[in-house]
Subunit: 328 residues, 2 copies
């Protein structure tokens, strides 16, 4: 079990039995959605949903709700499924752009069925997400998800537009992380809070928590790309650098080392050179400082949580800690 | 002015001055949405929206509404914009898969910015569509658009899954056309009818009209691919055949000619051979019969319209005729 999966387990324990019941319902609903596309043609969409990630975002939805709403949680489960579907859609499309062969240990849609099927599969998952959420008949929920979904696409556009541009500022980098990662964590919190019957103030407070841990999540992802260790991340260091993605460790390191600052990402010849650049970045202490910034964000996220029932608060703290523990 | 643009003009004249006002508002709203993504990174999404098609689907939304609703038509314009955004999103993604260089006489996003930017741009347009429609705060509208958007993706998946499979049945072909084209015309009618205050029965009747003309639209598109003439369509005949897309003219021709039936689409060496196959298909009368089937659908669509105000009915008939006139 990896660190995120362990977090999901610990949180489910802490939040109470109802979260386990909801997670079970979520899997059932996702399986139904997969079966609903049972025609051969939609197999890849079904596979992608069924293959299962760690369901971290749905977990956030459930914990933010703070309990099982009066309808037995059916609407809450649909909201969580919608968030997971949007997340899955972006993964399928990202895998096309990265020409990735494996995801969660299985062949990616693009690897097994080609770019055309993968593009359409991602579109299908996006559409299913909104179809699923529309069943809740809540305009505020559709709005929250569409804002997040727009942000994801804008973040992706920004990343591609800024590729190989080592002059990217810290501010611009953080904006990109907010768009491509934090927005969906924020929406997960909002959707959970809305279904849990939270008032506007409480929804806003939980949304801020989601945004902060989402931002920290992305920062730590970027640190892991530089620092590994590969034994834990399952991939070689420097993959982002090879793609030309300028992340926080590089931004900080460029301020501290003329050698790193002089480096042109376009000239990286292959994985070994990318790893050498990772070493140079780490030598400046930039990766460690980036990690520290992420930890501060997570602490801030936990510290600014409003008064909530003890079990819910504990579960939210565990989620925040889990974002950090991926690094341990 | 091409045939569809002429239809848009004629319909706007017939439906009354309010439709022209709505079309102007639509362009303003689309321009605002484009400007809203004014950062360099989102330029392509903005370009795609602003570049402008013939806005046939928004026109259908407006005519189905039958007038300007009490809010001055703001919600109606948002619904029309959402339909156009979903349509644009699918075009951007289709152009990636087809590696198309030009669309509406301008470079495609994939041609000018690459596959990565085009994938993200399409995702952005999808997301913006739902964000725009969510502002109407109507669950029935979000449901209608998400059903259509899901259908589009499924239709695309089906087309890719069935590529080069000459054994595709008529039933399966029609199902694919319903998904990839008719569903969005149906949604356009539903959204217009809902904003126009139609009751459930009337919404259903207009939805059926939309589905029928959408189906006919796709059938005629497929006939045009075989019959051209290139001088009107602006592209060489047989492009679908080159892509391995099995359409109605081929399905019918295979029943009538052993030579056509024996043809393996994978063995088409290039455009000249594809054109030769088009000639063989036409020689069986299959293209003409496919066109006749489409005309019957359009007539059926017009004949089964419910009693409606004269100007609205006239405009709907013009839209139906316009679908056919693309062939003339």
């Amino acid at each position: 079990m990896n660190a995120v999966a362990a977090t999901v387990e610990a949180v489910a324990d802490a939040a109470g039995r109802h979260v386990r019941a909801l997670m079970t319902s979520l899997e059932q609903r996702l399986a139904e959605l997969a079966a609903d596309h049972g025609e051969v043609l939609a197999r890849h969409g079904g596979d992608t949903i069924a293959a299962g990630g760690k369901r971290l975002r749905p977990l956030v939805v459930f914990v933010a709700a703070g309990g099982i709403p009066g309808d037995g949680g059916r609407a809450l489960v649909r909201a969580a499924a919608a968030v997971e579907l949007v997340h899955s859609a972006t993964l399928v499309h990202d895998d096309i752009l990265d020409a990735a062969d494996l995801r969660r240990g299985r062949p990616t849609v693009v690897a097994s069925a080609g770019r055309a099927m993968a593009t359409a599969t991602g579109d299908l998952l996006f559409s299913r997400a909104f179809a699923e959420l529309a069943r809740n008949e809540r305009r505020d929920e559709v709005r929250a998800l569409s804002v997040a979904s727009t942000a994801l696409a804008r973040g992706e556009l920004l990343q591609r537009a800024e590729a190989f541009d080592v002059g990217v500022t810290l501010e611009r980098y953080l904006r990109r992380c907010e768009l491509k990662t934090a927005a969906l964590f924020q929406a997960a919190c909002e959707l959970g809070a809305l279904e849990g019957g939270a008032d506007e103030t409480r929804v806003g407070e939980l949304a801020a928590f989601g945004r902060r841990i989402g931002l920290a999540f992305q920062l730590l992802d970027d640190v892991l790309d530089v620092s590994g260790p590969p034994g834990r991340t399952g991939k070689r260091r420097g993959a982002d650098l090879l793609d030309g993605t300028v992340t926080l460790p590089l931004i900080l390191a460029r301020e501290r080392s003329d050698d790193v600052a002089a480096f042109d990402l376009r000239e990286i010849g292959g994985p070994a050179e990318a790893e050498a650049l990772c070493d140079a970045i780490e030598a400046t202490g930039a990766a460690e400082d980036a990690r520290r910034l992420a930890l501060e964000m997570v602490n801030e996220a936990s510290a600014t949580l409003p008064p909530l029932p003890t079990a819910q608060l504990h579960a939210l703290h565990l989620i925040a800690d889990g974002v950090v523990d991926r690094y341990a």
